[in-house]
Symmetry: C2
Subunit: 489 residues, 2 copies
């Protein structure tokens, strides 16, 4: 055949020479969303074939910390055992605020009500959660504990809207690597239930019938295009697009400021492009998760960020991803973390962060940074005065992180553009119903097409409101919904 397939151009069913593979549900991508979709579709009795471009299972989720953001309904047994109550309404309000202006109330409601059950479901599949609580402020746990504070729960303005509870539930593994455990379990379960997996299988494009319904896909298997009939539907679980520089430039240029891509390498946006090609609307394509790990050590959270005007701009106890977005948007890309001798320590994950100024007084630091006279000094003095009273009327940093910066020498760690490496992945994706049904520009579903995980615009919709575990929570839960819905089509 002389046809070359590309995600942006669907194949018409009339042009399919013959079906090479016939199944009920075809799933593109064998990561967090794809594995859960497969499990539910198999449990519902559907024949399932999975097409994974990599040579192994797990997707980008396998490289993650394996953290799932769940709570509500009074709390998971893990939350309750650690002494936390977590009402559904608090969880709901937190998730709505975390979703930002584009938060999807219907999706959030469903998740808030069913997340505890979902946690139980993950355990039933065999995912190990130790059940222990790790206090403190972490980017990722270095222990094998399960429960940790992983978002903005205790930070203003979130804390003013919803009763805080720790909701990050991490698969048991010592240190970074819970994602491997999580994905080995979920992918193993899908296979055990009879899902058939093709590795090294690149989905080339969707197949549509004359009414615009998706009825299959074209995949490259062993070098040749193969035609897959999907009687009940195709579920796109192919990840986001942070690994596609061209898409990043077109859709989320602000993320180009982040040097590190959070991906196992195949988040090339092909799932999103295949959806767009058949008329799907893509939502929130400009949003991205970003982080800069300015702590640990935890003591650095007691420092204060200032911009080139000497102004503070964020409560530093907010989630590190929220802090990152605020740092990234400061005028001229200039920001510094001010510390004194009492709290200073090299940031563990970026020990080579430049120290832009050191002085025996804040005046010296101000001069060395070249800031407007008095601007930084006033900011620190006002902060110190209030912090000594346990208050932060400007930015509402919580009391446990308030400590006057009065012990010389003083220093400014540079978070100016180019001086640090931020990490990013994309949050925009195909418009879907909570069932995973993909929606067109008028908001109607496209027959036969489903999406979940970062291919969809899901629960996490706002870089400033992200919490660790939201993406895995979203991908596993809404992957399940898509699997169930497709199987019942």
């Amino acid at each position: 055949m002389d046809v070359s397939y590309t995600p942006a151009r669907p194949c018409r069913v009339e042009d399919v020479p013959a079906w090479d593979i016939d199944t009920d549900v075809a799933i593109v991508g064998f990561g967090a969303a794809g594995s859960c979709a497969a499990i539910e579709a198999r449990n519902a009795g559907a024949a399932v074939q999975i097409f994974e471009v990599a040579s192994a299972a797990g997707g980008s989720a396998a490289l993650s910390g394996g953290e799932v953001y769940v709570g509500g309904n009074g709390g998971t047994d893990v939350q309750r055992a650690a002494g936390f109550r977590d009402d559904t309404e608090d969880f709901y309000r937190y998730l709505m605020m975390a979703g930002g202006p584009a938060a999807d109330a219907e999706r959030v409601r469903l998740y808030a009500e069913q997340a505890v059950d979902h946690f139980g479901w993950l355990r039933e599949q065999g995912v190990p959660f130790k059940g222990t609580y790790l206090p403190g402020k972490w980017i990722e746990p270095t222990t094998d504990d399960t429960l940790l504070w992983s978002g903005n729960e205790k930070a203003w303005p979130f804390s003013a809207v919803a009763q805080p509870a720790p909701r990050g539930h991490t698969a048991q593994f010592v240190g970074w690597g819970g994602g491997k455990v999580l994905m080995e379990t979920l992918c193993g379960r899908a296979v055990e239930l009879g899902a058939q997996v093709h590795y090294g299988a690149r989905a080339l494009t969707l197949v549509v019938d004359r009414h615009g319904a998706v009825c299959g896909l074209v995949v490259r298997l062993e070098g040749s295009p193969r035609f897959v009939r999907a009687r009940k539907g195709v579920i796109l679980c192919a990840g986001g697009f942070i690994a596609n520089p061209d898409m990043v430039r077109r859709f989320v240029p602000a993320a180009e400021a982040c040097q590190q891509q959070v991906t196992a390498g195949n988040d090339d946006g092909s799932g999103i492009r295949m959806g767009i090609a058949v008329g799907a609307a893509a939502l929130n394509m400009q949003e991205f998760f970003a982080t800069l790990p300015f702590f640990p050590p935890e003591s650095l959270v007691k420092g204060i960020f200032v911009n080139a005007r000497g102004q503070r701009f964020i409560n530093e106890d907010a989630y590190h991803g929220r802090v990152a977005h605020y740092v990234l948007r400061q005028p001229e890309g200039r920001a510094w973390l001010l510390v004194d001798n009492g709290i200073f320590g090299r940031p563990m994950l970026q020990p080579d962060i430049p120290i832009a100024a050191v002085g025996e007084s804040w005046e010296e630091v101000e001069v060395e940074l070249g800031l407007p006279t008095g601007a930084l000094v006033h900011t620190v003095e006002a902060f110190n005065r209030e912090a000594s009273q346990g208050r932060d009327p400007l930015l509402h940093k919580a009391g446990e992180w308030l400590r006057p910066l009065t012990e010389p020498p003083f220093a400014a760690l540079s978070y100016c553009s180019g001086d640090f490496g931020a990490h990013a992945f994309t949050l925009g994706g195909l418009a879907t119903r909570p069932t995973g049904e993909v929606l067109d520009a008028d908001g109607h579903s496209i027959a036969g097409l489903y999406a979940a995980g970062r291919t969809a615009c899901g629960l996490p919709r706002w870089g400033e409101g992200y919490s660790s575990g939201l993406s895995l929570g979203d991908a596993t839960f809404f992957g399940r919904q898509a699997g169930l819905r497709a199987a019942s089509a």
Copy 2:
């Protein structure tokens, strides 16, 4: 027929019962982009049919001020007569910065190089420009002068990047109404050249062939669907989507904070949706123009905006739309314009703006606003100290607007959310080449489909960088390119 057509679902050419209308180029929308596309397509010898949903010509452009943002090449004759030189490189750098992170260098380059010629072309079509210069800072001129400062040219950081020049060229008309003159002229010219116009004609959806190429459209004429064959192409010039509350909620939820829609009523996003339906990528859908007319009187520009932390956040001499975006994003939606007796006047366009605090001292104002102790007082003192020296090291407001706020009584005008009405229109749209060719998700053109004006993601791509006249400049110039390219297909 029992088929009901909707923009999000294209019609297959096999399903067209018969062509009711046959043309070379079909244009959807008879506004700024559509009229210019028609003129060029007719001049190139193509048969042109225009489908306009309203009962009259002009689109939203007819309700505008009729201002076109042009310069470069040393300046238009109007700029030069007023003593301004405008180098292409300055114009280019300004437009690139004005486009924000998503600025399209190829499009900007073409426009910067050809805008002076384009201004000549508009005059050749008969658009009257008086040729006189109106100094000062205006939202819109109240005279019939042509040339005015209409953007961020003289404001930091734009002024630091490009030599400023006034570039807003307004069609001659006393006061608000230049858009009517502009559009009557351009639409009249298109008709004169033989473009055939159908009014009350709603474009329902595009017609695609088996290769995905656009070969026509379905329109509702006198209550019935009619099938239009477009041998050379369809040009979507159907405006933006600010008048479609559902699309605003899904694609640009932040704009919901603006109560006033800048539209003649038909910016319902149908052009964008028709494009998405055939696989086009939509770019920058979250961006919007917003403004709050906090001046005239011009003296209010000498006031300073502060947020709930008592911090300044914008140089108030920036373009009013840029100021609006900064005001809209302040924490908790709270901001005030601080004025003293020397500069106070009721904002002409919002005379009922609430005065949130009045005092004989700034301490009184601070207390009345409930701000953190000393925060506002420090900000005003620091501003006054520097302003008395003609400096603004924090925000780089230009010298002509710097005046210490020292004459009591002092007041704070409320620009808190709900206290003012912001105006908005959308800036996101279909991905196109500068030629108007619409692009799919892989960045390849979709045969037979073109877009211009606010249906496309054009020159103006960043609410913070908008300048009056950018949208009309873009729509008329790139409308022409689309007409030319389609006619030569």
